[in-house]
């Protein structure tokens, strides 16, 4: 077992582009659930429309990439409005089912033969983010001896973490504004907020739009990072990753999604790399696990982590159990 290699992989995972992207999407989710109490289980749907909104104009109509990102954001706003009108009046658990169904509807739609002229159907889209890498200021890789990042990854990380911290800062400002106080009062007691004359529905909708836009930006970054999009990489499990990240960090804490994402990706890559080595060196015999099972083991571990967190420490690493009462009202 090469512990150093495992650790270097884990650190790479913890600070790499994916961690930044997931942190950004989880910040959006934190606005929904942590501050407004909305059970949004369709965050991946916002990421999907964000990613395709970015890629399709570039590939199909030759627009510049920034215009694509703008289209992605607009798509997310539209999706939030479409989704919010029927479902935001419902009780929390109905909202959860409606959102997860909506995300799946979108995935079916984007991979269907109808959408193929624009989205490429099951084959997806490729090579649309050249405009992003053209601005890459890094010329050489970052080499720490035991850990290297390519200039490409560095550029995505810079933008990704930058966006995540900007979003967190925005959330911090908003949440301490009067608007944010109303939002939290909606979470705590919808009836009380309503009886004070607040338009609960409008606040929920604003929260859904704002968090959805952050999801869409994360989706755009996913597309930019991998230079390839496929509807089937936007499975519901991404949403469950985001929930795990948010709850691990501690819902309704400004920096929780960022901390959660770093810890989550560290643990996940650690497990991945340690298992790979254990199987490679024969420590885990092939009759028990083979390398192609690692993905499944990893998902199972996320599920187990989510279960145990929810059972024994629903406040996560930095949350305050009193601040967030998890219940349907």
């Amino acid at each position: 077992m090469d512990l150093l290699a495992i650790l270097s992989n884990s650190v790479r995972g913890a600070f790499g582009p994916e961690a930044a992207i997931y942190a950004l999407a989880a910040i959006g989710l934190n606005i929904h659930f942590g501050y407004t109490g909305l059970l949004n289980f369709g965050q991946v749907g916002f990421m999907l429309v964000g990613a395709y909104g970015t890629a399709v104009p570039v590939v199909a109509w030759g627009w510049p990439l920034w215009a694509g990102v703008l289209v992605g954001v607009l798509c997310a706003v539209l999706l939030a409005l479409l989704l919010g009108f029927p479902t935001l009046r419902l009780r929390g658990d109905y909202l959860a089912i409606a959102t997860i169904a909506a995300a799946e509807v979108l995935r079916y739609l984007y991979r269907s033969s109808w959408a193929e002229p624009l989205t490429g159907g099951v084959f997806g889209l490729k090579q649309f983010a050249g405009g992003f890498y053209a601005f890459n200021p890094y010329s050489g890789p970052l080499d720490l001896g035991w850990l290297t990042f390519s200039p490409r990854a560095l550029w995505v990380m810079t933008v990704g973490w930058g966006a995540a911290f900007l979003a967190a800062g925005l959330v911090a400002l908003l949440i301490h504004s009067p608007w944010g106080r109303v939002l939290r009062s909606v979470r705590e007691d919808e009836q009380a907020a309503r009886s004070l004359g607040k338009n609960v529905f409008a606040y929920k909708m604003q929260s859904l739009v704002l968090g959805g836009v952050m999801g869409a930006l994360a989706g755009a970054l996913i597309g930019i990072n991998s230079q390839a999009l496929n509807p089937d990489s936007f499975m519901p499990i991404i949403t469950f990753y985001l929930w795990t990240i948010m709850i691990l960090g501690g819902a309704s804490r400004v920096l929780a999604p960022i901390v959660g994402s770093v810890v989550f990706w560290f643990l996940l890559t650690f497990l991945d790399s340690a298992l790979r080595q254990a199987i490679g060196t024969g420590l885990v015999p092939a009759s028990v696990l083979v390398a192609s099972d690692i993905g499944a083991v990893r998902f199972a571990a996320v599920g187990l982590g989510l279960m145990l967190l929810m059972m024994f420490r629903p406040a996560g690493l930095m949350g305050d159990q009193k601040e967030l009462r998890l219940d349907v009202r």
Binding site: P86, Y108, S113
Partner: protein, 472 residues
């Protein structure tokens, strides 16, 4: 807390011990491609194995399978593997490679890189009485191979003279003659069969919600596990499928009961919030689904019994004996559940708990026992539904989750908490999803079912049979 951990471990042990048994069962049966009973789209080949979709964002470090290849399994109409056929792969008319199918009918050709290929075999080598299902089906053009992909290729074969009429689960539309009436009738039959399967699986989901207010996100996993246990017991093991199904039902029921004892009951005792329990259920579903994935593999497989049957022509519609039995069986089960709910003591107690738990408890009903029975019945029914679904489509680890969303649609359509509502709603969802293929692509059929659910939430959130209560 200690007792609870022990309980959780016990449940996991059940799951793992079953896993060990399953691994021990050798030669896990013939591996088939995306089975041709699935609603096959018009193209006669399907990508076999979408590489593990969600995590390709981070596959940057260690590419696992650098080489592209084409592979497949050649089977005759009786599902016997065809060995000794020469498969030739060409690109732009130039031969890239060729191979001969082995005695399992399997073949694999390595490729120089991603691109578009043509694959074919020599129809003269086919055994007597076997022909390509479609004219020119021995040569497939335009097979797109993506970087690093092991692209599956399916050649569809038919018995001589059988032609297009090979029974299939899904798009019976093409088979049953051109008139609109018979198309609609055929799709209605398919839809009712599919809806009946969803109905028997969703009864448990609805009853559990009615008695405990828990939205059991892991309910789909009972379906998958039922199908998989039956597979390992029958196709990969010694039992006939009928007995395998009994084992599967017992196993799914035991798993549901074990989870109630180890996870849900302790959480209710601590009066955990419902959202918290909902999220725990999501975690549980991830754990179970991916344990199945490790044990079973990601490929779609089929039971080796009742796979290919000649369809009975009933004038307007065609139906295989298998599908008829499945439909009748599902309806029989629904009637039994209804009789149980109406006539037996336990069933009445279930309805009482469903209506008002406190009142039921005050009048001397042992609520915990009733909830336990609900889990056992619901788990067992889900297991049975999994076997039936596996028979009509294919067995794969995601099947429970796919079905779960349709179950939610059915349950919400019918009115959450009501067993009868779940049945009616599920039948409606089955019919909607099948009828949609009349006008829309078959790949979108589940989308319409989910859209129907969202529409119901908009206009009548309590569903068809649901009680009027404040849900907004």
């Amino acid at each position: 807390m200690l007792a609870r951990l022990v309980g959780l471990l016990a449940a996991l042990t059940i799951a793992l011990s079953w896993g060990a048994v399953a691994v021990a069962a050798p030669g896990a049966g013939p591996v088939t491609g995306a089975g041709d009973t699935a609603p096959v789209t018009t193209a006669s080949m399907l990508p076999l194995q979408q590489t593990e979709a969600p995590d390709d964002a981070e596959e940057t470090q260690q590419p696992e399978e650098p080489a592209e290849l084409l592979r497949g399994t050649l089977r005759g109409p009786d599902r016997q593997p065809l060995s000794g056929l020469t498969i030739t792969v060409t690109r732009d008319g130039e031969e890239v490679g060729s191979t001969v199918t082995d005695d399992q009918g399997q073949w694999e050709v390595g490729l120089p890189g991603p691109g578009t290929y043509a694959v074919g075999y020599d129809p003269a080598e086919l055994p007597e009485g076997v022909v390509p299902r479609e004219e020119g089906g021995e040569q497939l053009q335009g097979v797109v191979v993506r970087p690093g992909a092991a692209q599956g290729v399916i050649f569809q074969l038919a018995g001589d003279g059988e032609g297009e009429g090979v029974p299939g689960g899904g798009s019976g539309a093409g088979a049953a003659g051109p008139t609109l009436l018979s198309k609609v009738a055929q799709l209605l039959v398919e839809g009712i069969k599919f809806g009946a399967i969803i109905a028997i699986t969703s009864v448990g989901l609805s009853l559990v919600f009615g008695t405990t207010r828990l939205i059991n996100f892991a309910h789909g996993e009972f379906v998958t596990i039922g199908a998989v246990v039956a597979f390992f017991a029958s196709t990969g093991g010694p039992l006939p499928l009928v007995l395998g199904a009994v084992v599967a039902i017992a196993f799914a029921a035991a798993l549901a009961g074990g989870l109630e004892l180890s996870v849900w009951r302790p959480m209710r005792r601590r009066s955990t919030g419902l959202i918290q329990m909902f999220i725990v259920a999501i975690g549980l579903s991830l754990v179970l689904r991916h344990l199945v994935l490790v044990v079973f593999g990601s490929r779609r497989r089929q039971y080796d019994e009742f796979t290919l049957q000649p369809a009975w022509d009933l004038g307007l519609v065609r139906i295989t004996p298998r599908d008829l039995v499945i439909t009748v069986l599902a309806f029989l089960v629904m009637v039994l559940v209804a009789v149980m709910l109406q006539r037996t003591r336990t069933g009445k107690a279930m309805r009482a708990v469903n209506d008002n738990q406190d009142l039921a408890r005050a009048s001397g009903i042992d609520v915990e026992r009733v909830v336990m029975v609900v889990w056992l019945v619901g788990g067992g029914l889900a297991g049975l539904g999994g076997v039936l679904y596996g028979l009509t489509q294919a067995i794969y680890p995601e099947m429970g989750f796919t079905l779960l969303l349709l179950m939610f649609a059915g349950v919400i359509l019918g009115g959450i908490g009501s067993a009868y509502g779940a049945m009616i709603g599920s039948l409606a969802i089955g019919v909607i999803s099948q009828l949609s293929t009349l006008w829309f692509p078959a790949s979108l059929q589940f989308m319409w079912a989910l859209l129907a659910m969202i529409l119901v939430l908009l206009f009548r959130p309590q569903g068809i049979l649901g009680r009027r209560e404040r849900i907004g």
